[in-house]
């Protein structure tokens, strides 16, 4: 009986609440109508009240907002020519800083894309471990880069052309060879302290930091499902503080590869617009060294050396990750102008998306024709391969060549995956070595072939626009070949030695027992999917409170039981 009364009361209450909400809505509507009436009346009344000061006029169309009054001037509304020029200069730098920051934010989001792609392409029993590597590389890498990576990379850059700036990054360590200066690393900007406490430098730091982190997170895919987490943490500092910054200095920080043009007449020096080699090849080659030192996952190869496929546990997750990466690439490539006022960004953005399309189409068709089905994981690799390849030449080629560069990458990535897996016998669960290493190298070489001379006047302090061999500058191609060779020799050598030392000191690989069980519990202490792989915590929680738990009233119970 008491139950029935309670139900009735609840029902009454509900009716009353609904009534009140209706009333409140009605009042609000009336108030809004009255308010609107008043607002429309006002302009008519105002002139009569005060004829001297005209009432403020709204600008719903947006054409009248912003004008001469907004130019900072001693005498408001009457700026001098110098004051106008100051405002224009400040606006230009503001647009460039805004653009660089916003595209940097897009690139930061690529970390999420990598996390999803790598975790989707690996097995369910390692998800917490794979995700955790992708997550912590952001924090660890950033810290290392702030401590000294940025200083080594950019400390000798000089003034940042598009951001005004005082040129406080002015100390490059150089050696003299053949009578020419070879810039090796920068020495300004440790901890962003001292004279580098500057808006232009901070903008550059954010943008370069997310690029470095993109490179740092690439090896976690190739080395997934067997890498000891403690060892990975040390690696996070190594790549962000040493290998990445050094190679990046040589290409982007005013170092010796960028000066090959000025010093030795090789085109515009080594040109890598947004990082096919600086970011992706560094990641891919580091991944190769790491995967070699680690060895393949247990069960990947049979005794006769033939590989077994180990399917990823979540294709939707991997495809979503791939899409997030493609979206982030709109920050990666167009942002590398470091200037929203450089309208070449339109060409760069379109080239970027076209190469991603042709990469996906050609990888899909290749797999379809050769193996009978359009493999989703290789199509995803194909899109990323196209993006990696277009990253270096995106600013220097026409849309047709962009499409071709992506298409070649789409097929190249398939060949590379099979070569690495079947011939080279290196286990790369997600295809990172092929996507980022192989196609990164193709990207910088393709620039030396297809750059069409419509952009890049004065790039790396060399007069004239950037041309590939098809457009009359064969020396550019030579520079574009020296770059990836240097990259491979230095990055592979340094990383291989580092991983070997790390293996001897700390151990690179988890125990076989942990690997077979899945790394989530032994390494992370928790399952990524507890209800699939572990005992259900929900059931345990119920068991603890069983004494006080009353069952739902069964259907066949008597009336007396029900009202109890």
């Amino acid at each position: 009986m008491r139950m029935n009364a309670l139900i009735r009361r609840v029902r009454d209450l509900r009716t009353r609440v609904a009534g009140r909400i209706a009333l409140a809505l009605a009042v609000a509507l009336v108030a809004a109508l009255v308010g609107r009436g008043l607002a429309q009346d006002k302009p008519a009344e105002a002139p009569a009240a005060s004829a001297a000061a005209p009432a403020p006029k709204p600008d719903p169309g947006g054409t009248a907002t912003g004008g001469i009054a907004d130019v900072p001037a001693k005498e408001a509304g009457k700026p001098t020519l110098v004051e106008v020029a100051d405002a224009v200069g400040h606006n230009k730098v503001s647009i460039n800083v805004m653009w660089t920051l916003l595209t940097g934010f897009l690139v930061m989001f690529m970390q999420a894309g990598f996390a999803l792609a790598e975790t989707g392409f690996t097995r369910a029993r390692n998800v917490a471990h794979t995700m955790m590597m992708n997550f912590m590389v952001y924090a660890i890498g950033m810290t290392g880069y702030w401590i000294m990576g940025f200083a080594l990379q950019m400390g000798g850059l000089g003034a940042i052309g598009t951001m005004g700036g005082a040129g406080v990054l002015d100390h490059e360590f150089t050696i003299s060879l053949f009578g020419k200066d070879f810039g090796l690393w920068g020495l300004k900007g440790f901890f962003l302290a001292g004279s580098t406490y500057d808006v232009a430098v901070f903008t550059l730091f954010l943008f370069q930091m997310v690029f470095m982190d993109t490179a740092a997170t690439i090896p976690t895919g190739a080395m997934a499902e067997r890498w000891k987490f403690s060892s990975f943490c040390i690696y996070g500092f190594f790549i962000s503080m040493i290998t990445y910054p050094l190679f990046a200095n040589w290409v982007w920080g005013g170092g010796w590869l960028s000066q090959l043009g000025k010093n030795f007449g090789l085109g515009h020096g080594y040109v890598d617009f947004a990082g096919s080699s600086v970011v992706h090849m560094v990641g891919g080659v580091t991944a190769l060294a790491g995967a070699l030192v680690l060895g393949p996952r247990l069960g990947k190869y049979n005794k006769d050396g033939t590989p077994n496929p180990i399917p990823g546990h979540n294709i939707p997750m991997a495809i979503l990750g791939c899409f997030i990466l493609a979206f982030g690439w709109f920050g990666f490539n167009p942002g590398s102008t470091l200037a929203g006022t450089d309208l070449r960004i339109a060409v760069i953005a379109v080239n970027t998306m076209l190469a991603s399309a042709s990469g996906a189409i050609f990888a899909m068709c290749y797999m379809w024709l050769r193996y009978g089905k359009p493999d989703p994981s290789m199509a995803a690799n194909g899109m990323l391969a196209g993006l990696v390849a277009i990253t270096a030449p995106c600013a220097f080629v026409s849309s047709f060549w962009a499409f071709v560069i992506g298409a070649v990458a789409g097929v190249l990535v398939c060949w590379s995956v099979f070569f690495i897996e079947r011939t080279f016998k290196v286990d790369d669960p997600v295809g990172a070595i092929s996507v980022h290493g192989t196609c990164g190298a193709w990207g910088v070489v393709s620039l030396g072939i297809f750059a069409d001379g419509t952009y890049g006047d004065g790039f790396n302090s060399v007069q004239g626009t950037v041309r590939g061999v098809l457009y009359g500058d064969g020396s550019q191609l030579i520079a574009q070949i020296i770059g990836p060779i240097t990259n491979f020799v230095f990055i592979f050598g340094a990383s291989y030695v580092f991983f070997k030392v790390l293996d001897a000191v700390l151990g690179m690989r988890v125990s076989a027992a942990d690997e077979l069980e899945g790394l989530d519990v032994p390494e992370m202490g928790a399952h990524g999917y507890p209800e699939v792989h572990g005992p259900s915590t929900i059931v345990r929680g119920l068991a603890g409170t069983a004494a006080s738990w009353t069952p739902a009233v069964p259907a066949g119970a008597t009336t007396a039981e029900r009202s109890r």
């Binding site: 496929p309 180990i310 050769r370 193996y371 009978g372 493999d375 994981s377």
Partner: protein, 112 residues
Amino acid sequence: MKKIEAIIKPFKLDEVKEALIGAGVVGMTISEVRGFGRQKGHTEMYRGGEYTIDFLPKMKVEVAVPDDRADTVIELIASAAKTGSIGDGKVFVSPLEDVVRIRTGEHGDSAL
């Protein structure tokens, strides 16, 4: 009493359930299981490599029925789960000694 265990294709579960309910069966238990028969699984492709799936996902439906209903129920399951192609599954029938309804303590046919 008989215990009937049917291994069927997962997408046939609804049809089997409807057929049994229509015939007056009041309860059943299902579980997701994996197994193979004479076909021994099948092959799939991943990144250009072929691999064999030995144990294919199936549904196991368990029903307990009085002896006189057993033949009807077996017939119903077999016809509802049939597609005519390889992998339709099997029905296993075994004698059932006793059944207890936990809430009331009833035994035998009345507990079904």
